[in-house]
Amino acid sequence: MVFGIGLLVAGIILGVVIRDYKAIIKVFARLTDASIFLLLFFLGISVGMNEQIISNFQKIGLQSFIITVLATMGSILVSYLVYKIFFKTY
């Protein structure tokens, strides 16, 4: 992941350099959107090909799903309060 963060930083530097070239920035934004969809597709393939996940899904899939929904909802609700109280202006 260090490499990933390095790429992020490299991107930021390039972004600062080319920030006034609106047309180029727009192309990068388009590429970002397309890559997000591609990422989800490949992530799906990884999950679909993962024996451990697929074979266990029937047994503990629901359990894992509900515990995750609650964990995530908890985070969202607490952050919603934080947002309303401390980040009103954002």
């Binding site: 790429l7 591609l38 799906g44 503990i60 908890g74 919603y80 934080v82």
Partner: protein
């Protein structure tokens, strides 16, 4: 809403391709995911660098930025606590430990497997992958109904990398620093918190 549907479509298509091995033999979904993620991090970086408001927002938030990962820790703790009341098969500590992966499934599932055994390890793996997927799919909706912090806190530890692109797309690239900071803090905490809880 439109984005959520498109994202879900691509993900489900991928899963089906994977299950029915509708992919070349040498193809590795894991490798491809990593390459696309690298490309994405660079692309998101360009967006962040090109945005003139990033630094201003980061400075004005100052200490309050700490509240973002804290919301994840407290919210996850409470959510998994509630779950533990309804599931006689898992102890409170086990539920907390699964939650404390904050989406960082590779590391948390290995730690949990070593301490608490195979089954809880697989639950942690599934659960934390689901957290990542939920964030990827629902970020646009969460931003609309629960404010700009919601996609970040839903993403947990993943808000610094895998889910960062969709988060910045949902709440604005000027808030990328919030997302990276929160994800980084949580990522660093996972290897300490999970063994501590169990």
């Amino acid at each position: 809403m439109k984005n959520t549907v498109i994202i879900l479509f691509f993900f489900v298509a991928g899963v089906l391709f994977g299950i029915y091995e509708f992919v070349p033999e040498a193809f590795s979904g894991d490798d491809m995911t990593t390459y696309v993620l690298y490309a994405l991090l660079f692309l998101v970086g360009v967006g962040v660098g090109a945005n003139k408001n990033t630094l201003k927002i980061l400075k004005s938030a100052s200490w309050r930025i700490l509240l973002i990962p804290l919301s994840v820790i407290v919210g996850t703790f409470l959510g998994t606590l509630i779950y533990s009341f309804f599931d006689p098969n898992l102890t409170i500590r086990e539920c907390w430990a699964v939650g404390a992966g904050y989406g960082y499934y590779s590391l948390s599932s290995v730690i949990i497997k070593e301490i608490a055994g195979e089954t809880l390890g697989v639950i942690a793996l599934l659960s934390n992958i689901i957290r990542e997927i939920l964030t990827l799919v629902f970020s646009p909706l969460l931003a609309r109904f629960f404010g700009k912090l919601a996609p970040i806190t839903a993403g947990g530890a993943t808000s610094m990398d895998t889910t960062l692109p969709i988060i910045t797309k949902s709440i604005g690239v000027e808030y990328a620093a919030f997302s990276v900071f929160s994800g980084l803090v949580l990522t660093l905490l996972v290897p300490f918190l999970v063994p501590l809880i169990l």
